[in-house]
Amino acid sequence: MPETVLPPDPAASNTSLRALLHGLPGVDEVGARARAADLSTRSIKTSAKARAIDLAISMIDLTTLEGADTRGKVRALSAKAVRPDPADPAVPSAAAVCVYSDLVATAAEALAGSGVKVASVATAFPSGRAPLEAKLADTRRAVADGAAEIDMVIDRGAFLAGDYLAVRDEITAVKEACGDAHLKVILETGELATYDNVRRASWLAILAGADFIKTSTGKVAPAATLPVTLIMLEAVRDHYAATGRRVGVKPAGGIRTAKDALKYLVLVNEVAGDGWLDPDHFRLGASSLLNDLLMQRTRLSTGTYPGPDYYTLD
């Protein structure tokens, strides 16, 4: 891919970042929606469906982000992430358990040795409104308690005001505070107003060092949508073509059914390609989705739907 998508000078200014981000090819909203809608008509059946369901399960960041969360709930969720269907050991584990930073230690203890990672939201999630020092302290503490992945939010106010440098510097600082932990940068696309902004925010986060770009906190409507995910997948695809570094994508919020999850996998397959079809490069941020995937999995192998009581409550 061409120069328009090469990384900027690290000593960037707001002017140079603006020139770069506003020089990206535009997004035609009608066309982007039409493409996402067209891909969502793909018919995934039988053996393809079975593979896709297991792949989707292995990509889930099983999430609880409520004020009322308890240690007990985090332990229960962790057990479920390790072995989603107690009756069937063939079901793969989820990718990670995603919690608030004060519950990281509990999750880390519950998941020790399982291969399921602990992900923590940080940086004054979901609003992002806190001093940088507080955001960095939040991040460091979560990593120290055992988080392998940090889900940060960008400063949407600064982004929308055109202060791209502030957004970039904050991501860079959090990335540094992460140490070896992977950084997922939440764009909160529901607040970004245009698809052009989604593309620009994607590139800004990627260039600032994000390992993943993530659609949403789940606290703002709309959360993840297919067109927004399409645009983010195009950004990581183009960035990979330009640099050889493969950044992951995580739609989160509002993905509740197996049918929805399969539409996202089709999008990954046909927009970014097979290099993204693994949990290291694509995640689904969800909670109730897992039970529907399990139910469809059973339905596919036995031909009947078990009742919802056969799956554990989150």
């Binding site: 328009t4 997004v27 035609d28 066309g31 982007a32 493409r35 793909r42 059946k45 390609g273 097979d274």
Partner: protein, 485 residues
Amino acid sequence: MERQADGIFEYAPAPESRAVVRLRPAYELFIDGEFVPAKSGEHMTTANPADEEPLAQVSVAGETDVDRAVTAARRAFEGVWGAMSGAERGKYLFRIARILQERARELAVLETLDNGKPIKETRDVDLPLVAAHFFYHAGWADKLDHAGMGPAPRPVGVAAQVIPWNFPLLMLAWKIAPALAAGNTVVLKPAETTPLSALVFAEICQEAELPPGVVNIVTGAGETGRALVGHPGADKVAFTGSTAVGREIARTVAGTGKRLTLELGGKGANIVYDDAALDQAVEGIVSGIFFNQGHVCCAGSRLLVQESAAEELLARLRARIERLRLGDPLDKNTDIGAINSAEQLERIRELARAGAEEGAESWSPDCPLPERGHWFPPTVFTGVTQAHRIAREEIFGPVLSVLTFRTPEEAVAKANNTPYGLSAGVWTEKGSRMLWTAERLRAGVIWSNTFNKFDPASPFGGYKESGYGREGGRHGLEAYLVHAA
């Protein structure tokens, strides 16, 4: 760009069921409300282009049969349909539209079997548009006083209509819906390779209890078409098809007093400026030339890309084309179906050979073609110049000719430098450039940041050798109405 992840996530076959279609072994002509055997006694076989299996026997209408059909249409026009109130005619059209929706799945599968186009298109494009055309024109039937043709415009009479094989049922809808709404009766000849959906439409006319003779369907090849357009009882001739046949029809009709509309070939230019939304432009280019295997008169068969964006755009385009899925048209995941006939396939091959011989560079994705049936891979020619045959002649297949330009003036000059003038597309994020370009293009339809979008309310037709007259919208009604005195 990475190749498709077949190892990890190969889509299993997802074929639409054929069981919804009840094919009869043989079909007769539909004249005066009934299926009747052809007096000619001749038959032809229509086959599935995807596997060359015969589908059904269809009658070939001779001169006597055509005469019977025109006579029935005249009787229906004078006896019942021409005098019926617009509101009453509208009820029949609404009824037909609803039945078309109810039988949409059956018709989509049938169209895919007979034509070779993917079920995704017949299901999501052809059939919804067919119903939309009948609904739209049903609404016009009692409002013709407001069509801009004076206070009480009159129908023309008997319309002789000849349609092509690329959108069999949709072209039927474009022809029959406005004719009936305006109070005309019709004799329609579907294309020789795709007659089946028109014959099921005849069943729908019976189901809707349309008065006998208002719609007559005569099947056959070129001879039948000649007998129909040359019949002295026809007041109006409407043809969609090739420019060569259109010329012949114009000669036949000249001096007879018959009204004539022609919708003919095209060599549409898709102009992409360097500030275009590139990912969506790629989608528009793909839909412009690979939709319906490129069997589209308004296809964007010439890509004119600004040279400063050419390399990047073509890289994205090739990566996108590699993901197109060619194969069984009944599979719900198929993007590219079969070429409609051996004859058409040979024409595409001949022009593709000419492109290579004249020095253009050909590229196709690594895409295995099924062994049986008529198939041609998506193909992109780069290094094409205005002088090449593949830049001038209509290929009517999945073959894109890429040319570059430097200035907007050059883009417009190249786009207009064709004997045709049916469609064009313009891709830019800058509104003033869009308007500047669109104003200067000599084409009947200009799409702005999109391509191959159709709507019954929008008039469609061409400049120059792409024909004359408009179909759809208020303008389309003019062909079927006589201005109030």
